[in-house]
Symmetry: C2
Subunit: 299 residues, 2 copies
């Protein structure tokens, strides 16, 4: 059987995932390094089988501008470390209180709360250590670090989005609340992932503006799709608790707009994200495919 375009994308993504996992293996201290508890906890969560979406977007953003593959791979891995830190802290009993993540016990379930808090801290810190390694263009790399830090902080970024998510739970949310929460909590970091690969590879300001729009729209679409899956999937399909958003009366797109309308919003966002890439022409084909892939699981 010859490969369909669809198979080809999956093969392409799987090859990136394999490279990312190999590089993460190199970047993380071994499970027996002293003190082993912290390193085992970090590895438990990093190697729990994530989709490696942020490294994929970072690599793809950088490949558009012929960035150095090794630099992009390391940068992508740093983003995955940050993503894992945020999952560990979000899952804690004081926050979302989740027991299951990617089909495995969450970090605090497996290692206790103290170790989970510290493992999250260590992964966030390690990400900045990796990003600050010698770089072809230290000037561009500083800007990459700045973009990433801004996207995940309180200024507003991931932390403010998570804060708002917690504060809005149990209250009647409207479209504006849920837009802000998703944009800050997930969208800003996904946008930064595409941007920073391109930035590191030397993209122009015009190119960055285009990719910023693409990243923001597809990042929001991805989170909406995730909300929809929380309603329509089983725990086995997702590898994590489902239906929790509704139980905790969380502000989500399905809660505000219903499942069908949420799917339509996500589709429209992906279409707009793809169209935003027009100035980049045919070389942005993969990025367009990836944006569609982000929401395809919901259809």
């Amino acid at each position: 059987m010859s490969a369909t375009p669809h198979d080809t994308l999956h093969q392409y993504l799987n090859e990136i995932r394999r490279q990312v996992d190999e590089e993460l293996e190199r970047l993380l201290p071994g499970a027996q390094e002293y003190p082993p508890s912290i390193h085992q906890a970090m590895r438990h969560s990093v190697f729990a089988g994530g989709k490696r979406l942020r490294p994929i977007l970072c690599l793809e953003g950088g490949r558009l501008f012929d960035g150095d593959e090794n630099c992009l791979l390391k940068l992508g891995c740093a983003l995955e470390l940050i993503h894992t830190y945020s999952l560990i802290h979000d899952d804690l009993p004081a926050l979302d209180n989740d027991d299951l993540r990617r089909g495995k016990p969450t970090c605090h379930k497996a290692f206790g709360e103290a170790t989970a808090i510290l493992a999250g801290d260590a992964l966030l810190t390690l990400a900045f250590e990796v990003m600050s390694e010698r770089s072809e263009s230290p000037e561009r790399r500083l800007r990459v670090i700045h973009e990433i830090a801004y996207a995940i902080g309180a200024g507003p970024g991931r932390v403010s989005g998570q804060m708002l998510d917690l504060e809005t739970a149990g209250k009647d949310a409207d479209g504006w609340n849920v837009y802000l929460i998703h944009t800050w909590k997930t969208g800003a970091f996904i946008r930064a992932a595409v941007l920073c690969g391109a930035l590191d590879a030397g993209a122009t300001e015009d190119d960055l503006a285009v990719l910023g729009v693409f990243g923001a729209k597809s990042g929001l679409a991805f989170q909406i799709a995730d909300d929809v899956l929380d309603v329509t999937s089983t725990r086995e399909q997702m590898g994590k608790s489902v239906g929790k958003d509704d139980q905790q009366h969380k502000a989500t797109y399905p809660a505000v707009y219903g499942v069908d309308e949420s799917r339509r919003i996500a589709e429209r966002l992906v279409k707009e994200a793809s169209e935003a890439l027009e100035p980049l022409g045919e070389r942005a084909r993969r990025l367009r495919e990836i944006a569609h892939f982000l929401i395809e699981r919901t259809h």
Copy 2:
């Protein structure tokens, strides 16, 4: 009354503290920024009246090499943000479970656990945002970020020290355990504070080697002095719970060596730290004074 050399040092340090507080005020979003809870929690802990020791050491390290005052001040503030993050997370119920810090309720006591975890995350992230701002020498600045990240991570650094501290509590610790815990948990970051000011200001590798020894020895001395104070002071003098190390059977210098011998070890370390600065001559006078100041409260 004319100023004694001692008064002069205190005036000198107070002037730095005033500048640091002013700059922190500029760097942190206002208490009413949205969502206010996270910004209030961050400000609560940052402005709880710390000694600003790490900014002082960073500034002093950079002044030795005529570094740009504004750059050094920002860098010093980033270190204070990191220090505050580490206090917030260490105080959490799952870790040291402390209610009082610098005479005020700890962050989770005042704002709840979820907000405290996120406020710590946000301060750590903001520190890297501040450090990655445009710099005179992006190459040196990248190395500064790398040094700091390494000192506070699991590789080993602060996180591993804290992990070890928790795991060793309740067990019989020896001199080697307590040396490792203190060096990783506190010493590495204090060493990095002196180093990174000098690094950013363009110090040579030889100068950095000298300052590294100074920082490591005076950092360890500072933590030993802090242990001694936990035994000999009152809650009112310290503004935080005292005697807790002993209650929790923590690995400390007084527990292993007794109070008097611990004082002697701290004094010897400060003497060695001062002597290490010899190649820098008279211009390192302030740094020597500061090292003595670090342990003077215990005598």
